[in-house]
Amino acid sequence: MSDFTPTEMMTIAAARALKASDVCFVGIGAPSAACNLARLTHAEGITLIYESGTIGTEPRVLPLSIGDGELCDTALTTVSVPEMFRYWLQGGRITIGFLGGAQIDRFANLNTTVVGPYDRPKVRLPGGGGAPEIAAQSGEVFITMAMGSRAFVEKLPFITSMGHGEGGDHRARLGLATKGPTRVFTDLCVMEPDPESRELTVVSLHPGVTRDQVQAACMWPLRFSAQPGETPAPTAEELAILRDLHARTKAAHAA
C-alpha cells in the first residue's frame, strides 16, 4: 500500500533531524546513510566527520567502511586517528554523534560487544570501536536502529556505550556534561528520553504503524507520549535522492 519501505522511513526521519550547522561524527551503516541524505537534501554544508580522520567529507557514494578512499578524496582535510579522537572528539568539537548498535535498552545504552557471558560468548560482536567515547563526548547523540525483540531488550548483556545508564541524572553523576542520546530513529517510530526519568518514550509513529506493532518489536513495556504524532511520510524528493544514493553505492561496491 505504501510506496516506501520501513528502512527508508527510518533513514529519512533520521536525516531530517540534522541541521546544516551540525558537526556530526558519523557511525558506519544506517547513520552514514542518514547523514549523507541530510547533506544532499536540507542540510547542505553540514560537516560530516568519520573516525578514520576525514573532516568535512562529501562522499558521492556511501562508504562500505569508515575509511573508504571516497571519504578522504572528498574531505576538507584528513587527520591522524589519534588526533581525531583527542583534538576533535575529546576536544568537544562534535555537536552530534550518530550511532547504530546491535542492542539497546530503555535508557538508550548500547551493546555491540557480546551476547551471552563475556568470557564464553554465545555471539561475539565486533566491539566498541569509536562508540564508547562518541557516546560520552559528543554534544548529543542520535541513534538509529531497526526494531526487533533481539535488538530492543529488557537488559543488555554488556554496556559498550553509555546512554543514560540507569536513568535520571546518572550521566551527570559520572561527570558527563554532554546530553547523551536525545533521539532514537527506528523503522517503526521515533523515541526520545523522558526529561526526568530518561526512559525512552515513543513520540512519533511512522505512517501506518500501530502502537501494538511497536510494542511487539520491543522487549520492555514501552512508554508512549501523551499524544504521539505521526512521522510525516517521505516526500518524493527525499525518496528519489535516497534511492539514487543507494543505487550509486551498490554499483560502486560491486565494481
Binding site: 578514520s52 567502511s65 569508515i66 575509511g67 578522504c72 589519534p82 566498541g128 569509536g130 562508540a131 567515547e133
Partner: protein, 287 residues
C-alpha cells in the same frame, strides 16, 4: 638506516615466534602481503595488536599464528563478522585467543604514548561502559592539577610494527598519504619495523612541507611489494576492493572453505602475486 630487503627476508629478520606485532593501517594501507608472508613462514604465538583486526588478522588468527589480540573493533566493516576471529573467541578454534579489548580512542592514545616513550596514555574514556570490568588493563589515574579521575591504558610498545606505504625514496625514507591512521605512531612505538611500499622512487619530488614522512633511520626494513595492501587500498594507486570484503564473508564463514582459500591464495603464492592488484590503478593513473 632502513635496509631494502625482499619481503621474505624482511619478515624472517624482523618477526619472530612469540613477538608482539602491530600491523596497522586504518582501513587504508593495510599490509596484507606482509600478513600472508608471516603465515607462509609459519610464525606462531604472536601477540597481535591492531585497532581493527580486519581480514588480515582474521587470516592470521584462522591459520593459528596468534596467541593473543589487543584490539578495539573486530568486524568486517559494513559487511558483518570476522568469522575466524569469532570462531577463535567463541570456540577456541584453531587455538584459544586471549583478547584485550579497548575502545578506538584508548588504542590510538596508547600508540601515541608508545611513540612518545611514555609508559601509559590517559584519556577521558570508558565512562559508564562495561569494558573496564572485563579488561584489567583499563585503569585510572587522578589528575594532579584538578583531581579529575581519568582512564589510563598501558602504552603500546610492539616488538615489530608493519605498515604499507605509497613510496620510499632510494635513501629509505618513507612517504604515506591519505588516511594515515596510527601507522606513524605504530612504527615510532616499535623496536623494529617493516614497511612494504608501492613504489621506490629516486626522489619524492615536490611535496607539502608537512608531508607525512618516516625518515630512513626510523625504519628497519623496506620491501617493494606493489599491490601489497590489496584488498585494502593505496590512495592514489588503487581503490579498496569492497567486492572482495563482501565476498570474504562467505569464504571465512566455514573452516574448510577458509582453509582451501588460504591454501590456494596464500600458501601457494608469493609477494609478487600482489602486483596484479596494482595494475588497474597504474593504468587509470596513466589514462
Amino acid at each position: 638506516m632502513a635496509q631494502f630487503l625482499s619481503l621474505e627476508d624482511a619478515i624472517r629478520a624482523c618477526v619472530h615466534d612469540g613477538d608482539t606485532v602491530a600491523m596497522e593501517g586504518f582501513t587504508h594501507l593495510i599490509p596484507h602481503a606482509a600478513g600472508h608472508e608471516i603465515i607462509r613462514q609459519g610464525r606462531r604465538d604472536l601477540a597481535l595488536v591492531r585497532m581493527t583486526p580486519d581480514l588480515i588478522y582474521d587470516q592470521l588468527i584462522g591459520m593459528g599464528c596468534a596467541r593473543a589480540l589487543r584490539f578495539s573493533w573486530g568486524g568486517n566493516p559494513g559487511v558483518g563478522s570476522l568469522h575466524r576471529f569469532r570462531d577463535a573467541v567463541e570456540n577456541a578454534w584453531p587455538r584459544p585467543l586471549a583478547i584485550e579489548e579497548h575502545s578506538h580512542a584508548a588504542m590510538a592514545n596508547a600508540y601515541e604514548a608508545g611513540a612518545a616513550n611514555l609508559p601509559f596514555a590517559t584519556l577521558r574514556g570508558y565512562i559508564g561502559t562495561d569494558l573496564p570490568k572485563v579488561n584489567p588493563n583499563i585503569r585510572s589515574v587522578t589528575c594532579p592539577f584538578t583531581g579529575e579521575v581519568l582512564a589510563a591504558v598501558a602504552a603500546i610498545r610492539p616488538d615489530v610494527a608493519i605498515i604499507h606505504a605509497q613510496r620510499a625514496d632510494r635513501h629509505g625514507n618513507v612517504a604515506l598519504e591519505g588516511i594515515v591512521g596510527v601507522q606513524r605512531e605504530a612504527v615510532l612505538a616499535a623496536k623494529r619495523s617493516v614497511v612494504t611500499v608501492e613504489e621506490i622512487v629516486e626522489d619524492f619530488g615536490p611535496r607539502s612541507p608537512n608531508a607525512v614522512i618516516l625518515p630512513s633511520w626510523t625504519v628497519t626494513a623496506i620491501s617493494h611489494v606493489p599491490g601489497g595492501a590489496y584488498p585494502s587500498y593505496a590512495h592514489g594507486y588503487y581503490s579498496r576492493a569492497n567486492a572482495f570484503y563482501i565476498a570474504w564473508d562467505a569464504i571465512a564463514r566455514d573452516r574448510d572453505t577458509f582453509l582451501a582459500w588460504m591454501d590456494a591464495n596464500v600458501m601457494k603464492k608469493t609477494p609478487a602475486d600482489f602486483a596484479v592488484h596494482a595494475r588497474p590503478a597504474a593504468l587509470a593513473a596513466a589514462s
